[in-house]
Symmetry: C2
Subunit: 374 residues, 2 copies
C-alpha cells in the first residue's frame, strides 16, 4: 500500500477541516491511482463475539474481553466488539452455529466442542497424547495445520484463528487413589471428548456435567472424579475441598488450543486494515493466555500445596501406558470412519513425530536439566 504523507494530501488538494473543541485536524484525501488510498471510507462496525465461557471466566473469558479491547483501540473504535458469555446471547455450545449463521460475527471457544459436527476439528484443539502448546503453534502456523483448519471451517462460513492455549492441563481430581488400571473399572468420571472415550475403554464411565454442576456431583458421589483445567481454575472451583487426590499429567489435554472463529462474510466486509487488526489480536491473545496460565498455575499450585490437604500424584506408569494404548485405539476409530479426520491426523501425526525428535534434544532435555534447581 502506498504511503500518503501529509504534504501529499495538501498537494493533491485534500481538505483540512478544523475540528471543534478538541482542536484536532481531520484530513482526508485520495490518490489519483486506483490503489487503495491511505485514507478512505471510515466505516464503523459493531460485532458480537459469543464465547463458550462463563462471562468474564478467568483467562479465557477475560482474555476474550481483552482481545475485543485491543481491536477497538487499534481500530480507533471503528470495530467495536461486544463480548457475550455462554448463555448470554446463545447457549455456550451454540457459539459455532451462531457465527455460521451470522447471529454473531465472532466466537471464542475450543474446536473440540464441535466434534459432533466436525470430528476432525478435535485435532485443532487437543487430542490425548498429542502435541503441547509450543508444538501446536508450530504445526498450526508453520506446519500446515492452520491451512487445513481453514479449509474445513470454510464449509461453515468460518475463519479459524488460534487464540489462546491452556498449556499442559492436570489429570484431574479423584476421591480415591488410582494404583492400577483396575481402579479405573466402574469409575464415574466427568471427562468430555476423546479423553472420555479412553476412560470408557479402561472400564470407567465418562459422565458429562456442565461446569456449574461438577462440584455438587463430585461432593455427592454422583461422580468419583473430574478433570477440569489446571491449578488456577481448579482452585477457584474448590475441588480441593472435596477430593483429595490431584493427578498429573493431563495426558488427555496436553496443550489445548483455544480458537477465535470469525464469520467469513463479516470478515470480508472489513477493510484490509481491520482484517489484519483482527488477525494480529488473535496472535496476541494466543501468547497472552498461555503466559497467564503458566504464571498463575504456579501461584495456585502453591496455594493448593499450602492447604496441606491435597495429595499430588503422578498416574502410575501402568495406567499411563493403558491410557496411551486406548488413546491410539480411539484415534484409530475416529480416523477410520472419517476421511477428513484421516487427512488432518496424517498432517498432525507426521509433524508430531518430527517435532518430537527435536524436543528430544531441546525442550525435553532442558526440562530434565533444570528440574530441581533453586
Amino acid at each position: 500500500m502506498a504511503t500518503v504523507s501529509r504534504r501529499d494530501f495538501l498537494n493533491k488538494g485534500a481538505k483540512i477541516v478544523a475540528a471543534g473543541s478538541a482542536g484536532l485536524l481531520a484530513a482526508c484525501g485520495t490518490e489519483k491511482t486506483g490503489e487503495a488510498p491511505a485514507v478512505h471510507t471510515r466505516k464503523t462496525f459493531r460485532w458480537k463475539m459469543v464465547t463458550t465461557w462463563q462471562p468474564h471466566f478467568p483467562v479465557m473469558g477475560e482474555g476474550a474481553d481483552r482481545a475485543a479491547k485491543w481491536i477497538e483501540e487499534m481500530s480507533e473504535g471503528r470495530l467495536k466488539i461486544d463480548v457475550y458469555g455462554g448463555g448470554e446471547l446463545v447457549p455456550a455450545l451454540q457459539a459455532f452455529d451462531a457465527v455460521t449463521q451470522g447471529v454473531a460475527q465472532m466466537s471464542h471457544g475450543a474446536s473440540y466442542y464441535w466434534a459432533g459436527k466436525i470430528p476432525a476439528a478435535q485435532f485443532f484443539s487437543a487430542v490425548p497424547f498429542g502435541m503441547n502448546a509450543q508444538q501446536m503453534n508450530a504445526w498450526l502456523y508453520f506446519g500446515g495445520g492452520l491451512k487445513l483448519w481453514e479449509e474445513i471451517y470454510a464449509d461453515f462460513q468460518l475463519i479459524p484463528m488460534p487464540g489462546g492455549n491452556t498449556g499442559v492441563q492436570m489429570g484431574g481430581w479423584f476421591n480415591k487413589e488410582i494404583r492400577s488400571v483396575d481402579d479405573l473399572k466402574g469409575l464415574k468420571m466427568r471427562i468430555p471428548g476423546l479423553g472420555g472415550k479412553v476412560i470408557a475403554k479402561a472400564g470407567g464411565s465418562a459422565i458429562l456435567s456442565a461446569g456449574g454442576e461438577i462440584f455438587t456431583n463430585l461432593e455427592r458421589g454422583v461422580i468419583d472424579a473430574t478433570e477440569w483445567i489446571g491449578p488456577y481454575h481448579d482452585y477457584l472451583m474448590g475441588f480441593h475441598k472435596i477430593a483429595k487426590y490431584y493427578y498429573y499429567p493431563g495426558w488427555h489435554e496436553p496443550g489445548t488450543v483455544l480458537e477465535f472463529a470469525v464469520n467469513k462474510r463479516a470478515f470480508e466486509e472489513l477493510p484490509k486494515d481491520l482484517q489484519e487488526i483482527v488477525r494480529t489480536a488473535a496472535y496476541r491473545s494466543n501468547v497472552m493466555m498461555l503466559s497467564e496460565f503458566e504464571a498463575k498455575n504456579n501461584v495456585y499450585l502453591q496455594k493448593l500445596r499450602e492447604t496441606g490437604k491435597v495429595a499430588l500424584k503422578r498416574f502410575p506408569e501402568e495406567v499411563l501406558n493403558a491410557f496411551r494404548r486406548y488413546s491410539q485405539e480411539v484415534i484409530d476409530e475416529l480416523v477410520e470412519g472419517d476421511p477428513l479426520s484421516r487427512k488432518v491426523y496424517e498432517s498432525f501425526s507426521k509433524f508430531r513425530k518430527e517435532v518430537g525428535g527435536w524436543a528430544e534434544i531441546s525442550e525435553k532435555v532442558y526440562y530434565n536439566l533444570i528440574g530441581g534447581m533453586e
Copy 2:
C-alpha cells in the same frame, strides 16, 4: 472511545468526497465533544527500524520485515517502517544507541547485546540455566519481568517489547569430543556473553567472532568450537561440513527472548491506535518467531542427520554440572557488583523457582511421557 457510525458522519455534516477512478468514498468528520473522535488527524509516520541481524536473516530478520508489514497493513500505511539490517544504517551493535538518539525509531535485536551498557539487561534475553521460552513469556507478561525491563530502558528513552524467541538453542559445534571437564581446558570457543565467562571458568577461552567469520575461523582452527543457534541456522551456516560433534542442550541460551525497542518520544507522538498496533505486532512477532524456529529446527535437524556426518551428543552429566556451577558463579559476580542486576535477578530467580515447581508436574512430565512416541 465512542463509535461513530456512517450515519453519524452524515448527520454531523461530514463531507463525502468521491474519489477518482477507484470510485471509493472518503469520508471524514469530527464529533462535537472533546473526546477523541473516531476519525481524527490522519497523520502518517515513517520510521526506521534498525536490527542486529544481517539483512533478511532467517526468522529474526525476516520476522522484523514481517512485523513492519503487519504494522503498515494495520495502520493503512499511516505507519510505514523501513527495516535495516546490521550495518545498513548503523553497525549492528549500535542499534540500541541509534534508537536512544532517535536516529532510528525502533530496533529488533536481543537485550544481552547491551550488557556492556546495562548488565541487568541480560536477564531479559537469556542467562545460562535460566528459563525457557514459555517460562520467559510468563515472567515478562504476568510475573513483573516486563515492568522491570520498561523501568530500566526508560533511562535510555526506550520502550522494550518482547518480539520473538529462539526456543532452546543447541550447545554448539566442536571439532573434538567433550568427554569430561578436562576436555574444556584450552578450548577456544566462539561463545559470547555470560556463556563465554562460564567457558573461561572451565579453563577454555571465549573468542568473539562476527557471524561472517566463524566458519573460516573454525575451518582454520583459529577456534575449536562455536555455538550459534539451532539446527535451522546452523545448517545454513554449513558448520556440519567442518565440525563433527554437535552438542546439546543449549544450557547457555535456553529460550532467548528477542526484543523490539522503541524510541519513547517517537512512540508517544503516535496516536493511541498506532501505539496499540505496534504493541500488538510485537506480541504476534513473539509467538511467530518461536513457532518458526520450532517448526524449522525439526526439518533441518533431519537434514543434518541425513548427511550421516554429524555426531549428535549430549554433554556428559559431569560437564553440565560444571557448567551449572560456573554459571551460578558468573551470575553471583554479576549481581554482586550491580544493584540493578540484583533487583532483576531477584524477580527472575523467584519466578524461575515457582514456575519450575509447576513444570515438574506439567511440561516436564509430559515431555518425558511422549518421548519416543511415533
